[in-house]
Amino acid sequence: MLDLTKYSSIGAALKDAVERFANETCLIEADREREKDRLTYAEFGKRALPLARAIEDAGFSAADRAGIIMTNQSKWLISAYAVFYSGGALVPLDYKLTPAEHWQLLEHSGAKILITEHPIWRQLSAHPARANARNLQAVLVTEAPPNADLSGAHRWEGFRGETAAPQFAPRQRKDLASIVYSSGTGGRPKGCMMTHENYLEQCVALTSLYPFWPGVCYLSILPTNHAIDFMVGFFGPFTCGASVVHLRTLRPEFVREAFTKYKITYVSLVPLVLKNLQKGLQARFDELAPGKRRIFDKLVALNRAFTRSHPRLWLSRRLLKQVHAAFGGELRAIIVGGAFTEPQTLQFFYDLGIPVANGYGLTEAGTAITVNDLKPFRADTVGKPLPGMEVKIADPAQDGVGEVWVRSKTVMSGYLNDPELTAETIVDGWLRTGDLGQFDARGHLHLSGRKKNMIVTEEGKNIYPEDIESVFESLPVKEFCVFAANYVWPKRTMVGEQLVLAIHLENNQVFSAELKGDIAQRNSRLLNYKRIHGIVLFGEDFPRTASLKIKRNDLAARLAQLDRDHAILPL
């Protein structure tokens, strides 16, 4: 791999990778069973440079920002390379957000160009909030049908072939590389400013544990705006000359096929998909005839015994040949992240000889803070701090649990346009994560709840209550407020997180079926993973500041005096 300690920017490292690994396979794009594109590193460069030239011609220059809103596909990476080549900073946005949310973040980030897909642009261009993104000067749209109305955008595919060479713009380690929104679409946008150094350091640390090399094939099914996919499905493999396969669907039947077709080495999944995979495999094991099942269970037990101290892939592949064949026979690890994964799921895969690289991280810390190093595999922890990470437990309670603080070169430089929030979050160089945990005697971190008012879904989505409150605006009650139930009533757990709506009724108002129906109807306007799960009735005025903002912490403390099980009325 490239020696990343010698590079000052992502762009410089990628540029060298494209030259050094010119003839290696770089990208494969598959849509269902069809392979649509296959590029070597040299071809990747040739595809990206005209695009870099096009954005430079459109007035894009070093330090400008470029938004990317795309599903999981190779043009994301080609576009990102063009942006880095021109010295720009990326603003990777989740394509699942609504058009209003996209425009809000594009405006907040000050993006000068936007690169997106035609179906997404169709919705974005028709939205009235388009007028607010005043910095946006050019839009590039992929895969537009021949006669499509581009609404002022340019066709991405139009920039190909021979053009004048773009100007490579060098950047420094401390310069801005990307603005990653960890949340805050409805309320206060939290744009994490990530530097080139953040990514370079993280890449060195991660690849020291989970290495890539030419011939390694990474299956990308998470979109690349996801911090994990950016690192292990783009920057990591590229700086080692490995291949990345993009699958443009999450349909289980095509994901299964991709493993065997491309002999996948690594894949990244969110816990929801991993659990689904587990369910599918378990169902197949349960269908085995009793005799075969007994043999299978014995082989699993044997594998467990032989891999107790460390993985022995060659042995696992022989003992459990059919299971490994179903994954293509070359799988070295499944990388899981974005949310907490239950230990029994991790153990299930490890017993089959498939290590799951489980860890803990947050965008603000530069993806991963701890990772399981498999020496030995531990399903009950989120692993040990990565090289270069200082992690401490602040103000531990009697049981040793306290807030997790992190100090490292991978920690963001701050939140965009929010010095106040930055000062609250990074104190004396320590990032206060808001997560609770403790270390065991072997240096493994155990997470046990949150100090902050938010939830993380199994799909890896961070949901902050203030981001979804707008849907309940003008609800016919005296006042309302959304909370993470585990924030109000702390539980030493990372599973089963839910949001609740606290309401204070008007004098003489009763909690009617009509009101409940109104809340349910508004709730259904939210994307399914953002919805509230229960209602809490509170009979007193909410505590407020002089400017009449709800004092959330004070209100949470008062709600906490109610009995949780009785207080939450299911919706």
């Binding site: 179906p119 997404i120 443009r248 669907t249 349909r251 039947e253 929801l272 259904s524 994307l527 399914n528």
Partner: protein, 80 residues
């Protein structure tokens, strides 16, 4: 070509079969995440079944943000 009403009805019938529900238990305006208590991956399984039935391809992005049967039927109808 079938009408949107016909397509909607076929979608409902198939969803009822897929999730082992009594005929007539689903309506066009039902939110399938809430009514069926399913997650996004289970929705993809239903989509695969609908694709086979209607002999069409529904890219994942086409059904992004869709959570009721009526809108789902409209997306299918536009590809028939």
């Amino acid at each position: 070509m079938p009408t949107l009403e016909n397509t909607t009805q076929e979608v409902l019938t198939l969803a009822e079969k897929h999730f082992n529900l009594a005929p007539g238990s689903l309506s066009p305006g039902d939110d399938f995440f809430k009514k069926l208590g399913i997650d996004s991956l289970q929705t993809l399984e239903l989509l695969s079944r609908l694709e086979n039935h209607f002999n069409i391809e529904l890219p994942d992005y086409e059904v992004q943000g869709v959570s009721d049967f009526k809108t789902l039927a409209e997306r299918i109808q536009s590809r028939l």
